[in-house]
């Protein structure tokens, strides 16, 4: 009996010691920065689906959970219909806690309707990590509403390396060099341009890059906010410059009618198929993802990038046009505040950046985090460029800047159909913009 009692006592003692040690470990863990006090569930509606960013964003959430284990973030992948889904949810009175909105114009609309909660608590985190221009991006009537988490560099041109080699041309630095190179590529037997005009936003991106590089960031912002009208002579110049590309119809793969039928994805596969059917695609850094998933072209030997050529020399000659994902909140509680403050820090961005396919304006993310040279060349300028502007069509009211077949998207498709009718398009753009801004 005594032996059993000894054994039992020993077992109890060891169990209690282990428990005590474990307890000591958790308490020492809590001292190391884990916050168990903040708890809750956050519903997050996002654009990224399982094939386009959801696993990477989940890595960001997992990193967040290391510091805040009791906050559960329920990410719901909605895909490209997010604006529609969100608009209906907001109108119905049951929006998610947080959402990812790609258009500042839409964010402004929601903020004006009073649906968003300001994220003023994240101001200091943002100030420590982002240049003032980025904080301005998410600010409406003086209050901070949105955190620009992910950004895409739209001032990038992707080209087919073998086509350039056959033609004997090198990536152009200026626009006039670009036109000469395009002529040489055409003479070598391949059309120079692959345009995905069925998706109107590719055409607006081309116009915006041209306008930015001809007139600079200040005038770009003025046009963006409709302080300059679309009938302004500066717009005429930019449209005429753009006509030099889209009017060169024999140099576009598929001609004008092909350009109108090919969407963005197809324009990329056309340029990087084997053999390549065209030489260049004027689109953002996310083209890389389409190339690797849909074609067999390899980096450096099959495809490479160069910065959008400069037009007017000056400080904005290599300005960067970005598009991005703005995170907004529809409610306010300690869990949401913790998550938003975390997302503004460099480790959050790095968790995704090191996997590629991600750009950020966070100036504390080093260029060395990007996995390869091409990604570095396209993503690093986002946070390091001196002059940064946001995609103009995204900043417009969505009725003008982000509606399929109407507004900017539809009118630029009409411009692609008849590039000689510059003044006609200008009048229609101005009419559509005026109507959208009036509302």
């Amino acid at each position: 009996m005594t032996r059993t009692r000894i054994v039992l006592t020993l077992a109890l003692a060891s169990a209690l010691t282990l428990a005590g040690l474990a307890g000591a470990r958790t308490s020492s863990h809590a001292k190391a920065g884990v916050n168990t006090a903040v708890s809750g569930t956050i519903t997050f509606d996002g654009i990224w689906t399982s094939s386009s960013g959801q696993p990477q964003f989940q890595d960001v959430i997992n990193l967040f959970n290391k510091t805040y284990p009791n906050v559960h973030v329920n990410y719901k992948p909605v895909g490209n219909n997010l604006p529609t889904v969100l608009a209906t949810a907001v109108a119905g009175g049951h929006p998610p806690d947080m959402a990812d909105i790609a258009q500042p114009g839409t964010v402004a609309q929601f903020a004006a309707q009073g649906k968003l909660k300001p994220i003023t608590y994240a101001k200091s985190a943002m100030a420590a990590n982002f240049a003032p221009a980025w904080q301005q991006l998410g600010t409406y009537s003086g209050k901070l509403y949105a955190l620009p988490f992910k950004a895409a560099n739209k001032s990038v041109v992707w080209y087919s390396v073998p086509t350039f080699k056959t033609a004997g041309v090198t990536p152009p630095k200026t626009f006039s060099q670009l036109l000469t190179d395009a002529k040489t590529i055409h003479a070598s037997g391949t059309p120079a341009y692959s345009i995905g005009g069925a998706d109107g936003w590719t055409l607006t991106d081309m116009f915006e890059n041209i306008y930015l590089r001809t007139f600079g960031a200040a005038k770009y912002d003025a046009l963006s906010q409709h302080k300059i009208k679309w009938t302004d002579p500066s717009v005429t110049t930019a449209l005429k410059t753009m006509a030099k590309i889209i009017g060169d119809t024999s140099n576009i793969y598929g001609g004008t009618s092909g350009a109108l039928q090919y969407g963005f994805n197809q324009s990329v596969t056309n340029a990087f198929s084997s053999p390549p059917k065209a030489a260049m695609v004027f689109e953002a850094d996310f083209v890389g993802g389409v190339i690797t998933s849909s074609t067999k072209a390899k980096p450096n030997t099959g495809f490479n990038t160069f910065t959008w050529p400069s037009i007017t020399p000056g400080p904005d000659a290599s300005a960067v046009e970005i598009a991005g994902d703005l995170f907004v909140t529809f409610r306010d509680n300690p869990a949401i505040e913790a998550f938003v403050k975390f997302l503004a820090t460099a480790p959050a961005a790095e968790a995704w950046a090191k996997q590629g396919g991600f750009g950020t304006g966070n100036k504390n993310v080093p260029a060395s985090i990007y996995p390869d040279a091409i990604t570095r060349a396209t993503e690093a300028p986002i946070s390091q460029a001196k002059s940064v502007v946001f995609d103009m069509s995204d900043e417009q009211p969505p009725a003008f800047g982000a509606t399929t077949g109407q507004g900017e998207w539809g009118l630029f498709q009409n411009f692609l159909k008849s590039p000689s009718d510059v003044s006609g398009i200008q009048k229609q753009l101005e009419a559509a913009a005026a109507a959208a801004y009036k509302k």
Binding site: A187, S188, G189, Q261, G263, G410
Partner: protein
């Protein structure tokens, strides 16, 4: 005398209650998901763009409906759909039903024709979008066209080539003529670019500028391009000659005097040329473009393309319904007609079709209702750049209410308008069912 009424009444009341109890779930769902939204939409159409109701605008939304070009195009397109599709579907279904009635493997044929009904309209739209691609290398329809046209008018050897210098000019027939005149003993140069390296004819070697021969006209036709461009109009190292090209010697008036083929290094030699001025040219057949494909998804053909795809789906449905009607038709009438000396066509036109009239009208009216509401096939098949041209009422409602513009007032007005279009047709159908019963 007094007792039975209360018993009968309570029995009737009991029966009503039981009936109501069984109907209640369905009535509840109908009320929530059909009656309430319908009433709300009708009321909403008189209000402004945003908000649960917004501000009152009266009939303004309906006025916009008939004055905005996108919406009038949609109405016009739906009118085209209604005029063409029900008639075509019924006709094609009738033809198939009659043809597959008395053949072997009837079931197999009927299944094959009915199969398109098994896939969703959206999937059909995506599939036909791929098939309608303009590039014959990608789109099945144009690939077929290319095969057929390749038999009758084969593509030229250098269909994508164009001159490297302005002195070589295209004529109206597609030939290339060198403007610079040449006389016997002269050397002429025909430089072409726009030829991909793998499109150069086989056996080509470095181009050579030949020495002049008295009494002959010599020259070279070559790929005037080397990496970096090179000098236009000058034969340089690395530039290949174009063998097998038919070069013509034309008189000053334009008549072809001689023609010859170029050698592996691109040189050609017109011998025994009498004195005079001539122009060297390359015949149009060298530049004959291969079939480029019809732009099925372009602005001119997008509506017909949609109609074809839609008829492809629904012809099977029409065939099955009409086939059932055919099977139920009394055979003796047909036999009588045949013995009376009618040809198959007369029997078909004067006996079969009138007897099938009720079935045909069922199919016809069903198709009208379907076509008024058409949405998914247009959304999936038409490229974004053609939405304005191919617009239909349901698509316009979706874009106006739910896409960027977010104008729920006009969107509701469009929905009400569509409802008003469909209601008469529905009423017709219901009245017919009642009559038959």
């Amino acid at each position: 005398m007094a007792a039975p009424p209360s018993g009968a009444e309570s029995g009737r009341l009991g029966r009503y209650l039981v009936g109501a109890f069984f109907l209640a779930p369905a009535l509840f769902m109908l009320g929530v998901w059909m009656v309430y939204p319908a009433v709300y939409t009708i009321v909403r159409s008189f209000f402004g763009p945003t908000g649960f109701f917004g501000h009152w605008v009266g009939f303004h939304n309906y006025k916009t409906l008939f004055t905005t070009s996108t919406l009038t195009t949609a109405i016009k397109n739906n009118a085209i759909w209604v005029a063409v599709v029900p008639a075509m579907v019924t006709a094609v279904g009738l033809v198939f039903a009659v043809l597959t009635e008395r053949i072997r493997w009837a079931v197999a044929f009927k299944t094959a024709i009915f199969l398109p009904m098994a896939i969703s309209a959206f999937a059909t739209g995506v599939t036909w979008r791929i098939m309608y691609q303009q590039d014959p290398g990608l789109g099945a329809v144009n690939a077929l066209g290319k095969t057929i046209s390749g038999v009758f008018s084969p593509a030229g050897v250098l269909s994508s080539a164009f001159p490297s210098t302005p002195t070589l000019q295209t004529t109206s027939s597609g030939a290339l003529v060198l403007k610079t005149p040449v006389m016997p003993g002269g050397v002429t140069k025909l430089g072409l670019t726009g030829i991909a390296p793998d499109a150069v004819p086989k056996g080509a070697v470095q181009a050579v500028l030949p020495a002049s021969k008295p009494g002959d006209v010599v020259g070279v036709v070559w790929r005037d391009f080397k990496p970096g461009g090179g000098k236009a109009g000058v034969v340089e190292k690395g530039e290949l000659g174009l063998p097998g090209v038919t070069v013509e010697l034309r008189s000053a008036a334009g008549k072809v005097v001689q023609s010859t083929k170029s050698a592996a290094n691109g040189t050609f030699d017109f011998t025994k040329v009498s004195s005079g001025t001539y122009h060297a040219a390359i015949g149009a057949q060298t530049f004959a473009k291969p079939f480029g494909g019809f732009a099925w998804l372009g602005p001119n053909l997008i509506v017909p393309s949609l109609l074809i795809a839609y008829i492809w789906i629904w012809a099977g449905f029409a065939m099955v319904v009409i086939g059932a009607g055919l099977a139920a038709m009394p055979r003796d009438v047909l036999e009588a007609a045949r013995t009376d000396g009618g040809t198959e066509w007369q029997v078909f036109r004067r006996v079969t079709v009138p007897l099938l009239a009720p079935v045909l009208s069922v199919v016809f009216v069903t198709m009208i209702i379907n076509v008024l509401k058409v949405f998914d096939i247009v959304y999936a098949l038409a490229p974004e750049s053609e939405y304005a041209k191919a617009n239909v009422i349901a698509l316009a409602m979706y874009f106006t209410a739910f896409q960027g513009a977010g104008n729920f007032g006009i969107g509701s007005a469009i929905a009400v308008f569509l409802f008003l279009l469909v209601v008469p047709v529905l009423a017709l159908n219901i009245r017919r069912f009642k009559r038959e019963v």
